[in-house]
Amino acid sequence: MTQIHSDTSQKEAQSKVKLSARNIFVDYGAEHVLKDVSIDIPEKTVTALIGPSGCGKSTFLRLFNRMNDHLEGFQRKGEILIDGEDIYHDQKHLEELRETVGMVFQKPNPFPKSIYENVAYGLRIRGVKDKKRLDQVVEESLIKAALFDEVKDHLKKNALSLSGGQQQRLCLARSLAVDPSILLMDEPASALDPISTAKIEELVEELKKKHTILIVTHNLQQARRVSDQTAFLYFGELVEYGNTEQVFTQPKEEQTAHYIGGRFG
């Protein structure tokens, strides 16, 4: 074994498991959406969820902040663990859970409020009124989302006046404002132009220093560029999960090879 290899394996051994799914089954009414999915996701890495439309990627992603709970007919079996604790065990702490687990959606969805109020939202609903603290967090979050320079002179402007790419970074800033340790991204760049997409990808790269990131993407190149691990889901089953380089260059499963090779999907 070369020095490099032992280094990486050592690094992997050190990194703690942040998120786990244990034998997850999800049904919507009579439809089986996820079948026996188990996965361990290490801390401060980027994990891409890939697979054809309707394979259950988004449903799987939304398990981690319990955004499926209110959907009609939603049924779940199995455990979702964050730092070893089952988040479905205690029904009461939905608000706290979502402080730990931030989410960026497919289409930019800023509130029809000012840029400032969008970013301050997470703090406001938690009762923060201190103007200094709000100002500071808004600025920091916008800096983290690489949007501050573009909007610093008009924080009072309506968020809907921003471009699509800026809106998506604003949504990212909004999530970051409550300092979540986990970020869920559901095809965050699918509605954006290539330049805005590149910016989001850069940000993902930067944010993984502090956050554990799960990203659903249709774009295989994107998955390859930004992620450390890749999970391939197909018809509700986890077909393959492993190091991104390995999944893309030497997939273990035939289905993975076919999907990555562009034979379907």
Binding site: E95, M103, F105, P110, F111
Partner: protein, 295 residues
């Protein structure tokens, strides 16, 4: 054959045009009658007197033509009605949209709209023989005719206007905004008050203005239960008369055609028209300025 279809097409177009014309002509006719009769009224009574005199006694020997008592009566009952309808209607809209199950909503919506279908004379009678005696138990000095009781009943009548249109406005707020708010860890109540209501505000304002217009124009309830007594007051416990009530009262009497008493009907009608026109305009402007466009 081809010519026949073309002819039919032409005839249908004409019919449609005539239908549209009927509404336009009716409106134009009403405006014409209102204002031409009002003009002869204002040849006898100055506009200044009409707008500033604090007494309205055109049917007495000591005639005064101050519209203010009627305007105050109208605004007072309308204000009471909105005070009832806005909180109740909005609460219903929020409940149906964000909390109730789909099935409950399906059942309760038509039931609610029945409120708007009850004949107003029934409401008026209800105000007089049920609401007023009930209020008199709480406020012993309350006279048999007062502004409060018909105001409250009118409020109940316009609840469906507020709830139905507010609900449509809330429903139109995209799901993605709810997701964003819940995703940030907001509770339902926080999502309703911080995101949904502001996002739906333009629709809600239109709903309220429509309800206000409806209350201002309401005649029967106030005619029956408010007392038909022109009274420049904003005290809900006194009896008042609204513009509409006055018009009914005079129309039913035997004032001679063309007399000044007769013309007061049109002056009062014109005032009512101006009031609702102003409201419609506010609603229109508000909608244009604050409507959020969602894709």
């Amino acid at each position: 054959m081809k010519q026949k279809t073309r002819l039919a097409e032409h005839v249908i177009k004409m019919i449609l045009f005539l239908c549209a014309l009927v509404t336009v002509l009716t409106t134009a006719g009403i405006i014409w009658v209102l204002f031409s009769e009002s003009i002869s009224f204002f040849q006898t009574v100055s506009l200044k007197e009409f707008l500033t005199d604090t007494e309205w006694t055109p049917l007495f020997t000591q005639k005064h033509f101050g519209i203010l008592p009627l305007v105050s009566g109208t605004l007072l009952t309308t204000f009471i009605a909105i005070l009832v309808a806005l909180p109740v209607g909005l609460t219903i809209a929020i409940y149906l949209n964000e909390y109730a199950s789909k099935r409950f909503r399906k059942v309760i919506k038509p039931v609610l709209e029945i409120l708007a279908a009850v004949p107003t004379v029934v409401y008026g009678f209800f105000a007089l023989v049920v609401m007023t005696p009930f209020l008199q138990k709480i406020i012993p000095d309350l006279p048999g005719f007062n502004a409060l009781s018909p105001g409250i009943i009118m409020g109940i009548m316009i609840i469906p206007f507020v709830s139905s249109l507010s609900e449509d406005a809330l429903f139109a707020v995209p799901q993605s905004l709810r997701d964003a708010s819940y995703g940030m860890g907001a509770t339902r109540l926080q999502t309703v008050f911080r995101v949904l209501l502001p996002a739906a505000s333009s629709g809600i304002v239109s709903a309220v203005i429509l309800a206000v217009s409806r209350a201002i124009g309401e005649t029967m309830i106030v005619a029956i239960a408010a007392g038909q007594q022109p009274n420049l007051t904003f005290n809900p416990l006194e009896s008042v008369e609204t513009i509409t009530t006055y018009i009914v009262q005079v129309s039913l009497g035997d004032v001679p055609h063309g007399s000044i008493e007769y013309q007061t009907i049109f002056a009062a009608g014109a005032m009512l028209f101006v009031l609702t026109l102003i409201l419609n305009n506010i609603s229109f402007q508000f909608n244009r300025r604050y409507r959020q466009k969602y894709e």
